[in-house]
């Protein structure tokens, strides 16, 4: 698979480390009332879709940026690559 890095262009997926579903960006508040439930769901449960999947890849052998890659899990086709930082900032986070 080739991942089109927004800054570095096309890179071999072997340069990256895979983490998982991009929803992992949205870590729940561990001190909230319902933290036991929300943390359980955050850490352990996954949508695991067959089809488009937004997922986190870390460019370990490159510029060490985190990317959000939109990839089809049935065909391995990659349709979008964003910097995870941009995705997080769009959600209102500071970084």
């Amino acid at each position: 698979m080739i991942i089109h890095h927004p800054l570095l262009g096309p890179r071999d997926a072997a340069e990256f480390v895979y983490l998982g579903d991009a929803s992992l960006i949205e870590r729940p508040d561990g001190l909230a009332e319902n933290a036991e439930d929300t943390m359980y769901e955050y850490v352990y449960l996954r949508d695991n879709p067959a089809g488009l999947h937004r997922e986190l890849w870390y460019h370990e052998q490159g510029d060490r940026s985190w990317l959000v890659v939109t990839r089809n899990t049935v065909t391995h086709e990659i349709t979008a690559v964003e910097l995870a930082r941009d995705v997080a900032c769009d959600k209102g986070r500071s970084k």
Binding site: R46, P49, A50, T73, V74, H76
Partner: protein, 416 residues
């Protein structure tokens, strides 16, 4: 028809015209006591044990394609019971015991061949870990022998003992490990279940569940709606896809695992050999091909095919212990879907939906578990309590803080 030597002789003398199909091809009935979703090894084993050991007759197995078209025909056919943890090892030992009596039990030649499995170790620390594992195996009577280098040199002189980076120092040997002809396992269980009246419905894809007030009452399939008192999902690899139809999120990711076969060679590898410093395992099939594999690709996939970096990694693992395989050509490679769970261990459990049961999360170790998985799932379906050796394989174990993490890798599915 019972298969035996006399029958072969009789059929041979009469032109082999009397053989009948090993199972029927019935139409779906509108209702069953139990519908098993998934006609793979585990689903067929569940149907077999439900009908042959627990006295249920009114059962259907629904399968999207043809039986055995998924992982039971894609794995590297290894069987072993050399786990460590309490939640796993007794379960896998039960599986091994069932393998040992399986062919007589279901009257089908599954070519169970206990040629032993050799887990190589390469350092003092790894030797100690294997000694501990061997002791855990002895607690369940599974047998395990710690071999030193000299003993392995005698058994497998062709290994790269003096590898500069990962010298071979010894191995944990389980003599009862080995291989089984995987297709025959699916066929044997299917035939045994069919003979007791189980309907095996092929080309029957589940498209939805009918759930009222938290009770699952029927499955919608491509061949019509089928009602059932209990619906048992058993579709490891596609668990995420199927259970999402029931609105469930699981502690599972689907990943792809590749497997490889070399060209046919003369008998050279006596049993199963695994590399302790990388991920590589190899055995030799009866046709002579070296059957081997390694790590999963590591990203979510439903594609049933992988990518080249892992091919290279697996072959490097092979070359590190068996330099001679560099001379063999790769004949075939393929991929299968793995339910990678959050702790590397499986689930056999009820769900929060009444009447809906779940069996999955087998990671890449489901084949060896086939008989015990079927037996324990049948036990759960028949009695509504888990079998004693499967009491820890529960869906809620993460919420309770009780994962069964053999590797100690944490909730990261692609590391198990």
């Amino acid at each position: 028809m019972r298969y035996n030597a006399l029958e072969i002789l009789k059929q041979g003398l009469t032109g082999n015209k009397g053989w009948t199909p090993a199972w029927r091809d019935p139409d779906p009935k509108p209702e069953y006591d139990i519908v098993i979703v998934g006609g793979g090894g585990h689903g067929l084993a569940t149907a077999y044990y439900l009908s042959n050991k627990f006295g249920f007759q009114n059962i259907a197995v629904v399968e999207k394609g043809w039986i055995g078209s998924g992982n039971v025909g894609r794995n590297t056919t290894l069987i072993r019971s050399n786990y460590l943890l309490e939640g796993n090892q007794p379960f896998y030992e039960l599986s091994m015991q069932l393998w040992e009596g399986l062919e007589q039990d279901f009257n089908y030649n599954a070519m169970v061949s206990q040629r032993g499995i050799l887990n190589l170790y390469h350092s003092d620390a790894q030797r100690d870990a294997f000694a501990r594992r061997g002791n855990a195996m002895h607690l369940t009577g599974s047998g395990g022998v710690l071999l030193d280098e000299a003993q392995i040199r005698k058994k497998c002189p062709y290994l790269d003992f003096d590898n500069a980076r990962f010298p071979i120092k010894g191995a944990l040997w389980q003599p009862r490990g080995g291989t089984v002809r995987h297709d025959a396992v699916a066929w044997g269980f299917a035939r045994g279940a069919d003979q007791k009246g189980v309907d095996i419905l092929q080309n029957c894809e589940v498209t939805g569940f009918q759930i009222d007030d938290g009770v699952c009452k029927a499955v919608e399939t491509s061949r019509g709606i089928i009602r059932a008192k209990k619906i048992a999902v058993c579709v490891a690899g596609s668990s995420g896809r199927v259970m999402s139809m029931a609105g469930m999120r699981l502690p599972i990711e689907s990943h792809v695992l590749q497997a490889f076969v070399s060209e046919g060679l003369k008998p050279t590898i006596p049993g199963v050999i695994t590399f302790g410093a990388g991920h590589f395992y190899v055995s030799q099939s009866d046709k002579g091909g070296l059957v081997f594999g390694g790590d999963i690709d590591g990203y979510n996939s439903y594609a049933q095919r992988g990518n080249l970096p892992v091919v290279e990694d697996v072959c490097e693992g092979g070359m590190a212990i068996l330099p001679m395989i560099g001379r063999a050509r790769l004949l075939r490679m393929w991929g299968g879907l793995m339910d990678m769970s959050m702790d590397g261990s499986p689930f056999i459990d009820r769900t929060h939906i009444k009447g809906l049961y779940f069996n999955g999360g087998w990671c890449y170790g489901g084949f060896k578990a086939t008989p015990a998985s079927g037996y324990c799932y049948a036990h759960l379906l028949a009695k509504d309590v888990p079998h004693p050796v499967a009491t820890q394989l529960r869906l809620d174990r993460f919420r309770r803080g009780a994962p069964i993490d053999e590797k100690g890798a944490g909730p990261q599915p692609n590391l198990h």
